[in-house]
Amino acid sequence: MPELLYFTEILGLKVYDLKGRRIGRIEDAALVPLVDPVRVDRYLVGGGWTWLTIRYDQIRSISLDGIHLREEVLTPYHEDEYMLRIARDLLDQQIIDVNGRKVVRVNDVSFELISNDGNDLLRVLEVDIGVRSIVRRILQGVIPRRWVRRLQRAIPPNSIRWEFCNIVEQDPQRRLRLNIDYGKLEYLHPADLADIVEELSPEERSAVMETLDSEVAADALSEVDPKMQVSILESLDTETAADIVEEMAPDEAADVMAELEEETSEEILEEMDAEPKTEVRELLEYKEDTAGGMMNTEYVSLDENASVADAMAAIKGNEDLLEVLNTLFLIDAAGRLVGSIPVAKLFVADSSAPLKPLAGGTLIKVPVDEKQDRVTELFDKYNILTLPVVDEEDRLAGVITADDVISVLRQK
């Protein structure tokens, strides 16, 4: 069974040379993630005037009683950009627990001790959080290490596997040198990612947002508190901000842009691609608390004479809408809205059948300048999922979905 060591136990361990003379005590240990993401690569020893660096392969044995070297040509410590120093960079700092989807504070780090013929290695296992590690750290150095171990047994452990830990580093240069990337975060649900982002400080927030894939960043940003959306976009450089806004649903993008200062939002709009830019610009024209301000322009509409097969084809052509699509709209030659059809009805109809007879009885719609309160009332009264919004000439301008209404209600 591999032995377990805690970082706080290693701190202050005495280091002995080949003849058993004491050189000094351990002050810190460091990983070099570009070389090996889990192996402790350097040990920093304080003794005389300066700190010395021990390479991992210069060590014979590590135990709670001390560290014995097998080679004693040690170099003085000098600052190295590629080193992740555990006491300085990890202990007491906040990291992201990808598995638990939250931000946690590091109390201690645990290692697996591996012996292969006369060369003991430490590999990072877990990051410790919670009461057990607090007690361990407070007592370490006050009473002997073995007593601490015995005392902590009574407290349940609370730790996170190293592979699920994500260090937050603001400096992009250092992020490269320490081999930190936020790829793991991209698999999280956008809402969880948003919660994590909200927990971070403003600089860390923009650091994470600008490294994420812009599609993921856009999804997460949509879930963030509106006030914070603004400060995140303001902190990013215009190009990155534009990339993210492009990927957002146009109605949400317009909502954020409306909150920004005019100068900033203009700059971001200028950087955007033509198509999303016009959409957002159009939506920006509407007042925030009207149907126009709530709607988005992503919907599927068909000619009133189309068939079920045409509808299926149209849906296939709009794959990015699949997750939220629940209603199709019929329009006449002049673009006027004439009917709405629940998507599910397509499955029970013949593919050659015309769409028109599938449309429901009363067509519920609102003009773009309808008040927000009235819109939420309609959703409640008619139990609708998607409400069409029409302009002055009765042409379909956009749709309001139930999730838009929920966010409005939640903000009250």
């Binding site: 007491d92 590091v106 919670g130 607090i134 400080s201 600089e203 006030k227 400060s231 303001e234």
Partner: protein
């Protein structure tokens, strides 16, 4: 131009909250007692101290709101990251202990102020405790802040009650700017006490956490600074009216010692029912308000610093330690007030001593942090400002330690 102006106003109201609430809670039951004592015993003479107090308040609070806006982290977060777990735990233990005695003092304030209206504390204190608990556990940050800002407005009660008494405004005005020092030990103790109650350690934690929670950034910080200044002045204005009310009502008819803010309220009775009612209602409001804020401003930094989930916006399941600590502080704080033989007055004095011990530590941590370039970047203190802050801190430390010492002697006698 107008648009620009409107934008500034909007930013100001957008950031308003943290500074105002912190500054107002500063006039809690302990503060009201001290100001009443000052007015009752020495009349208008001590009023001049309010000016330097305002400056001290601005200097300390400004650092917190700046740190909050620039780093986006709470004070205890920063202390933990820069000074390690052991110092944090020590500081947090001290904070819990200090604030527990403070919370007790607030519940005592609730009890005595409502007893003036003939309501027994065995009903009012448990009700108050339940209200405080529910407010935070069931509310959201935004709704809680609105209620708190509402409570700030109620401090106007003191202004009206002072006007109803009709004090000597001319004397009040003159003494506000004309320092009078007397080598009377009682007088000097009083001056120290006034400064000591005006700046409490928990305020620093609360303010910074609230600034962060509100999402105020570097860009909005100038508006936040205006808020700190305005609200510090407002706090001193309220204090001014409390001193003046007691000077006009009590000192003018013969200076005397009072040992309870309720006594001051009683003495206002000859000036009409409203003066009395407003003064007592003000005491109740202040106590309840502080009783809401204190448990919160303890549980927050402790959980942040030690790495437990925290925050009003999280549920019980997500942040168990936060809610347990919060509940425990209220239950113990309110419960002790109800124990028949509990030495309440001594405990209130103890809360002042503990504040005095903790404040220097917190202030020194703050100055070290605010001067760290890797944290604050261009927002570190300027040389001049550093001189001002160090001077303020040294003065504050001296005065609070002196107050603590005097209080300890009182407790023994």
């Amino acid at each position: 131009m107008l648009k620009r102006f409107r934008y500034h106003i909007a930013v100001f109201f957008g950031v308003m909250g943290p500074g105002f609430i912190t500054a107002m809670v500063d006039n809690d039951s302990g503060g009201i007692l001290t100001y009443s004592q000052a007015g009752a015993k020495y009349g208008y003479l001590p009023l001049w101290t309010l000016l330097p107090i305002t400056v001290l308040l601005i200097v300390t609070q400004e650092m917190n709101s700046r740190m909050g806006a620039v780093t986006g982290k709470g004070l205890s977060d920063l202390i933990r990251e820069e000074f390690g777990l052991r110092k944090t735990l020590l500081l947090m233990s001290l904070l819990v202990l200090t604030n527990l005695t403070n919370i007790m003092a607030e519940f005592a304030g609730i009890a005595t102020s409502l007893e003036l209206f003939g309501l027994t504390r065995y009903i009012t204190v448990p009700l108050g405790a339940a209200a405080v608990w529910l407010l935070v556990v069931k509310g959201t940050y935004r709704s809680v802040e609105k209620i708190f800002l509402g409570a700030c407005v109620l401090y106007v009660a003191y202004i009206i009650s002072a006007i109803l008494i009709g004090p000597n405004w001319k004397a009040a005005a003159v003494n506000s700017v004309h320092p009078v020092l007397m080598l009377d030990p009682g007088y000097i103790t009083m001056l120290i006490a006034m400064v000591g109650t005006s700046i409490a350690p928990w305020m620093q934690f609360y303010l910074q956490a609230a600034v962060v929670e509100k999402g105020i950034t570097e860009k909005e910080y100038p508006a936040s600074r205006v808020e700190v200044i305005v609200s510090s002045i407002a706090t001193s204005v309220i204090a001014f009216f409390i001193v003046v009310a007691c000077a006009g009502a009590i000192w003018a008819n013969g200076p005397r010692d009072i040992d309870d803010a309720a006594v001051a309220a009683q003495a206002l009775k000859p000036f009409g029912k409203y003066a009395f009612v407003l003064f007592s209602a003000g005491l109740f409001n202040a106590s309840l308000f502080a009783a809401c804020i204190l448990p919160l401003s303890t549980a927050y930094p402790v959980c942040e610093g030690l790495g437990f989930e925290s925050g009003v916006n999280k549920g019980f399941r997500e942040a168990p330690v936060f809610y347990w600590l919060y509940t425990m502080l209220i239950v113990v704080g309110a419960g002790l007030v109800l124990l028949p033989k509990f030495p309440l007055v001594k405990m209130i004095l103890l809360s002042q001593v503990l504040n005095g011990v903790l404040l220097p530590v917190v202030l020194i941590f703050m100055i070290v942090l605010v001067n760290k370039r890797d944290l604050m970047g261009e927002w570190t203190n300027s040389r001049f400002y550093n001189t001002v802050t160090w001077a303020s801190v040294v003065i504050l430390i001296g005065l609070t330690l002196a107050l603590a010492g005097i209080t300890v002697r009182q407790m023994h006698s």
